[in-house]
């Protein structure tokens, strides 16, 4: 019994840290632009494809391919902001939201047309090979690495936000864009930086996700994207630490529900959205809930 619980907790922790990595991107973009970037899940997919091509088409060593994919995905996020969101930055939030949905469809269909809808096997990096067996605990190496990677990245992000000049600008921009520009700060660069960081984290999530499954397809970003969005809302949208906590809670509760109510296993994917509805009904500000409009990172 204890091993089962432990086993499930580790599985949940691993899934949860993936949601956390992706949720952070939603929360940061919401923080600066007050919009839900519904294309964020597809950015995860782009990251996974870039890593795939690095290894399978360009024969790069896995780590070179991963790092390249993470950085390039960051730039894809920056490009999406520049082309699609920046021109309507001062329009109504609904216009931004609809544009994000449009970008999402665009990326999905672009990849469908370019690379086809047939899932491709994702090459598993040597470092993620194997399973640890320990007292009947069954631990794929990747699910041990995932929470560690997520924790290290979260720490780095919080460090940037709280101990660097541009991190400070990201926090001030989240409060007030105009006054931030009065400090002589080029707010376009700061916003680009936010998209770069959020998108790179999504790429890391995409790579880890693909390693666990291990296949990729152009629509693979939808489910983790939506769940991570639910996690971000659960944690309190706009709050980075909250997004991480929301991701963990979602991942662990998904796994535990299936473990203890096997008959509900078929509804596993619905749980995130049930949670989303409940949060929106009873505590729209989420766990780290301050007043919605005052919350900044």
């Amino acid at each position: 019994m204890l091993t089962t619980v432990l086993q499930q907790l580790i599985n949940g922790l691993s899934a949860g840290s993936l949601y956390a990595l992706v949720a952070i991107g939603y929360t940061m973009v919401y923080g600066v632009l007050r919009m839900i970037n519904f294309a964020h899940g597809d950015i995860l997919m782009v990251g996974a494809y870039l890593a795939f091509f690095g290894i399978s088409a360009f024969m790069l060593p896995w780590w070179v391919s991963f790092i390249t994919a993470i950085i390039l995905t960051g730039f894809v996020g920056v490009l999406v902001e520049k082309l699609a969101y920046k021109p309507i930055r001062n329009a109504s939030r609904v216009s931004l939201l609809i544009t994000a949905v449009g970008v999402s469809f665009f990326l999905e269909n672009l990849f469908l047309v370019l690379f086809g809808g047939v899932p491709k096997a994702f090459p598993i990096a040597p470092i993620f090979h194997g399973v640890l067996n320990y007292n009947q605990l069954y631990l794929p190496v990747v699910s041990i690495y995932t929470p560690i990677v997520a924790l290290v990245l979260l720490y780095m992000l919080l460090y940037i936000l709280h101990h660097t000049k541009y991190g400070m600008a990201m926090r001030s921009i989240a409060l007030d864009i105009d006054t931030t520009s009065l400090m002589g700060i080029n707010v376009d660069i700061v916003i680009s930086l936010v998209f770069f960081l959020g998108s790179s984290l999504a790429a890391v999530g995409g790579i880890l996700w693909s390693t666990q499954y291990p296949s990729i397809n152009p629509l693979m970003g939808i489910m983790p994207g939506l769940k991570a969005f639910a996690a971000a809302v659960l944690g309190g949208i706009g709050d980075v630490a909250g997004a991480a906590i929301g991701g963990l809670i979602l991942g662990i509760s998904e796994v535990l529900i299936v473990a203890f109510f096997p008959s509900l296993a078929g509804y596993k994917d619905a749980f995130a959205f049930l949670l989303l509805i409940l949060v929106l009904l009873f505590k729209p500000t989420g766990i780290m809930g301050k007043e919605l409009e005052r919350k900044r990172f």
Binding site: L175, L182, G184, N186
Partner: protein, 233 residues
């Protein structure tokens, strides 16, 4: 130092600033007074490019009217906005730090010390979030934050707004002190009496137009000004 010519600001159908021209000479305090909605804030915002405008804005003999806000600020303009707008989610020290965003880190300590000398209260509050400060302290912080960039032109939008008379007095003394040290200042105020007392020159703005301009001393004596703005019958 600052020369504005034929400035116009439109918000959709509202003509908020109607073809005004004015000047702020070096080392002077110039004040812009006028009733609510006259277009005072719009004028200041258009100088730093926060609202779109037409007309010429010359700063230190550069036409800056096409530049982005951050570029104009880098040239040496600072605006203390209406309602102070300190970053409540940053600490007092971070607010000062961000004011000097484009200055080398090595010069920061020296700048903090200078600000703490003018506003000793900020030193005591340095580690606190700016949101926990009183209104008066926030005004000091907003001023300190603007001074961190060592501007050539300091623009203030209603620094007396919502402050107790004693604090207003203090703020105006600091403004005057800064000017005596050579700072050029453009001061927007509803508190016309206070503003005209420390200013060298003044413009009266009504419904987007400059209706009167003169040496501040003369405006203080002017019949219309006394009636409309100094509360005399």
């Amino acid at each position: 130092m600052l020369k504005v010519k034929n400035l116009n600001v439109f918000y959709k159908l509202i003509h908020a600033v109607n073809d005004i021209s004015f000047e702020v000479p070096e080392s002077k305090i110039v004040t812009l007074i006028g009733p609510n909605g006259a277009g005072k804030s719009s004028t200041l915002k258009s100088i730093v490019g926060l609202v779109a405008s037409s007309g010429q804005i010359n700063f230190l003999s550069h036409n800056i009217s096409k530049e982005k806000t951050y570029q104009r600020i880098k040239r040496g303009i600072a605006l203390v906005p209406e309602g102070r707008k300190v970053f409540v989610n940053l600490t007092v020290l971070e607010n000062l730090r961000i004011g000097a965003f484009n200055k080398p880190a090595s010069t920061l300590e020296e700048k903090y010390e200078r600000i703490f000398q003018i506003f000793p209260i900020l030193k005591k509050r340095a580690k606190q979030y700016a949101g926990t400060l009183s209104g008066g302290e926030q005004q000091m912080l907003a001023l300190g934050r603007a001074l961190m960039s060592e501007p050539s032109l300091l623009m203030l939008d209603e620094p007396s707004l919502g402050l107790a008379p004693k604090v207003v007095q203090e703020v105006f003394e600091i403004i005057q002190h800064l000017n005596r040290e050579g700072m050029t200042i453009l001061l927007v105020e509803q508190n016309a009496a206070m503003a005209l007392k420390i200013a060298h020159y003044g413009y009266v703005l009504e419904a987007g137009k400059i209706v009167l301009e003169d040496v501040a001393q003369n405006l203080l004596q002017n019949e219309d000004v006394r009636k409309s703005y100094l509360g005399e019958v």
